[in-house]
Subunit: 145 residues, 2 copies
Amino acid sequence: MKGQTERKIFADFLAARGLRDTSQRELILDEFLGRESHISAEELYYVVKKRDRTVGQATVYRVLKLLCDAGLAREVDFGDGTRRYEHEFGHEHHDHFICTSCGKTMEVVDPAIETLQNALAEKYRFSLANHELYLYGTCRECRGE
Amino acid sequence: MKGQTERKIFADFLAARGLRDTSQRELILDEFLGRESHISAEELYYVVKKRDRTVGQATVYRVLKLLCDAGLAREVDFGDGTRRYEHEFGHEHHDHFICTSCGKTMEVVDPAIETLQNALAEKYRFSLANHELYLYGTCRECRGE
DNA sequence: ATCAAAATGAAAATCATTATCAAGCGAAAG
DNA sequence: CTTTCGCTTGATAATGATTTTCATTTTGAT
């Protein structure tokens, strides 16, 4: 079954912290895993509510925070005022292209850039934990190529 | 006098759009130019109010938007829920280190990274307008080195 | 001077997110 | 069993930054 490893990780994470593995938490994790790309708390709230309309949105926010702590989700911010979440486990680190014309995002990665970032951090005696690179512009389709 | 070029740019920008060059707009621009580093709308509002306590904060928000459109200011977002603004005109593009321990930020730039970003964009047929790179970690001081 | 358009300040509204709180529930202890 | 205690929850209020509204003022061109 899909997402089995992630479910195990989450269960272990909860157990290690003395937290409970509730139906709401499993449902929210399940819906989060069930969709690719980036989802906002509100969007996730709506799809979760389709399966259980009693779930409150505060719980969705709370669980998203837990998923981030558990290393299963990662926060991204495309500057539109809403935080989005993407899968973290089993996904290589990547950066984002954001098309300012159609809003589409594309995941990209360049190992050489990553290497240079580490070198840059070292030069400034800065201990690098993580980074965010957002590349804004227009995609090929929007330019009509 | 300092900031003369910027004032001219702003005046021209306003004229080109048929907007008026008001005392509030000049005052806010002046205070914005008068401080280095990153300032939030609220911080700017307070220093502006010291010189003219009748200015409202809505006006500060409005003028900051104009300054961005005029190419004099640039929005930065360190992920703490507050947008900040930095000087754009006459300042090289740069990226940011953000110390997650003390909150300090450091401006850095690496031409090699910029070059690679452009190559990456080209590879994906993406027309790059601008980018934001945030490097999170801990600074030397916070690590007690 | 006149008049329409633009600008302003105060206050209300919005939007995403967080905090509060009373009620629910589950596991372990008695 | 059943009591207890703490973790969870949903509803709701609160928050904080930003935006909008709106009545009023200012401006610049006629």
